[in-house]
């Protein structure tokens, strides 16, 4: 698919400064899992992407990073054109081939479908970037591990039960694992593979709280 010029939007106004600031924010959320950071270096994002997802893409993706997009994003002209124009990243068909997988919360790939790296090179795994309807510090998950002094609580809305269970279970394969970024509007958080996740409650999330603004 060629780049559609009418869909192109401006990237960072000050690319060097802004991509470093966003990279710094990404480092912060990865090294202190569960903290939420706001990033505000662009005014708009392509239709279908949240501001934080778009800024993360602008600072992390380049011609050397292979990217997989979940079906809705992959069929969006605006998303593809802007990623191609601003990041020049190759898009791949299967999540296994990707360095970064960008997905909507309703179209998550199975973790097993991603690249987990190898015992020699666990760092060659796919990093998963998920766009979710809400992120908050409500006690829903209790996080612990490197970068967290005692525990930290985090609630990520809109995740299927099966995926949550899979994510919690994936910690057993350490040092292999999948690092995840979670994006909502202009906010960003991360759960690297080192973070232990304990569900505070086994009850199914009530549906009415999912609509909260993020």
């Amino acid at each position: 698919m060629a780049v559609s010029s009418h869909e192109l939007i401006a990237g960072f106004a000050d690319p060097v400064q802004a991509s470093q600031q966003v990279f710094r924010a990404a480092l912060k959320v990865m090294s202190e899992p569960g903290t939420r950071v706001e990033v505000d270096y662009v005014e708009q994002a392509p239709k279908g992407l949240d501001l934080s997802t778009w800024q993360l893409a602008l600072s992390l993706l380049d011609p050397d990073t292979r990217v997989w997009l979940s079906p809705t994003l992959a069929s969006s002209d605006a998303v593809i054109s802007n990623l191609r124009f601003h990041c020049q990243c190759p898009l791949v068909e299967f999540p296994k081939d990707a360095d970064f997988a960008i997905a909507l919360n309703t179209e998550l790939p199975q973790l097993a479908e991603l690249n987990w790296g190898s015992a020699e090179y666990p760092d060659r795994s796919t990093t998963l970037v998920v766009q979710v309807p809400a992120l908050s510090a409500e006690p829903f998950w209790t996080l612990s591990g490197p970068g967290i002094e005692h525990t930290r609580s985090l609630r990520i809305a809109g995740l299927p039960d099966a995926f949550r269970a899979e994510l919690i279970k994936s910690r057993q394969r350490f040092p292999l694992g999948i690092d995840t970024f979670w994006c909502c509007d202009n906010r960003l958080t991360a759960l690297p593979r080192t973070t232990k996740i304990e569900p505070r409650t086994t009850a199914i999330e009530p549906l009415n709280t999912e609509q909260e603004a993020c």
């Binding site: 060629a2 780049v3 010029s5 009418h6 192109l8 939007i9 401006a10 990237g11 106004a13 690319p15 011609p63 124009f85 601003h86 020049q88 190759p90």
Partner: protein, 156 residues
């Protein structure tokens, strides 16, 4: 990244031509003619001018195996006019003003209202200058041409 299949429509060819002229013209000549037109379109940057390297590839005799000849410095830029038209430029060297002007001219050349004016006042004179320069260089080179031939030697 693979090169997208582009259809060779007349519009594409015309655009390739004017983008080529804008990129190859000297900065001074382009700026002078551009300012004389005193067009001041409203625009926003989609990609601010940025300088980088591009690998030039060649083929021996135009048909051999492609090889990497060397890298050149180039500056690229993309702007969007208030009307929504996108202008793109890739120019050699590090002059960002050259890239901005070329991108603006590319955008305005796609607009019906300004196309003929710019063709007449900007592209054609610049093209003539480029052609004259090329002719002059060719003439200079031609004056030093040596034709090699072997005289037929007598047998005795």
């Amino acid at each position: 990244m693979s090169v997208e299949q582009q259809q060779e429509t007349p519009e594409t060819c015309a655009r390739q031509h004017w983008m080529g002229v804008l990129a190859k013209s000297s900065v001074a000549a382009l700026q002078q003619r551009w300012q004389a037109l005193s067009l001041e379109p409203e625009y926003q940057f989609i990609r601010k001018p940025e300088t980088g390297l591009a690998m030039l590839r060649g083929r021996v005799g135009g048909s051999g195996q492609p090889f990497n000849m060397g890298e050149m410095t180039l500056t690229r830029c993309a702007v969007r006019l208030a009307s929504g038209t996108l202008g793109v430029s890739y120019v050699s060297g590090r002059n960002s003003q050259h890239a901005v002007t070329a991108a603006l001219a590319d955008a305005l050349l796609q607009e019906r209202s300004t196309q003929s004016l710019l063709q007449r006042e900007l592209i054609e004179p610049l093209q003539d200058e480029l052609e004259a320069e090329r002719q002059q260089r060719a003439a200079q080179a031609n004056s030093t041409r040596v034709d090699f031939f072997t005289l037929v030697r007598g047998e005795d």
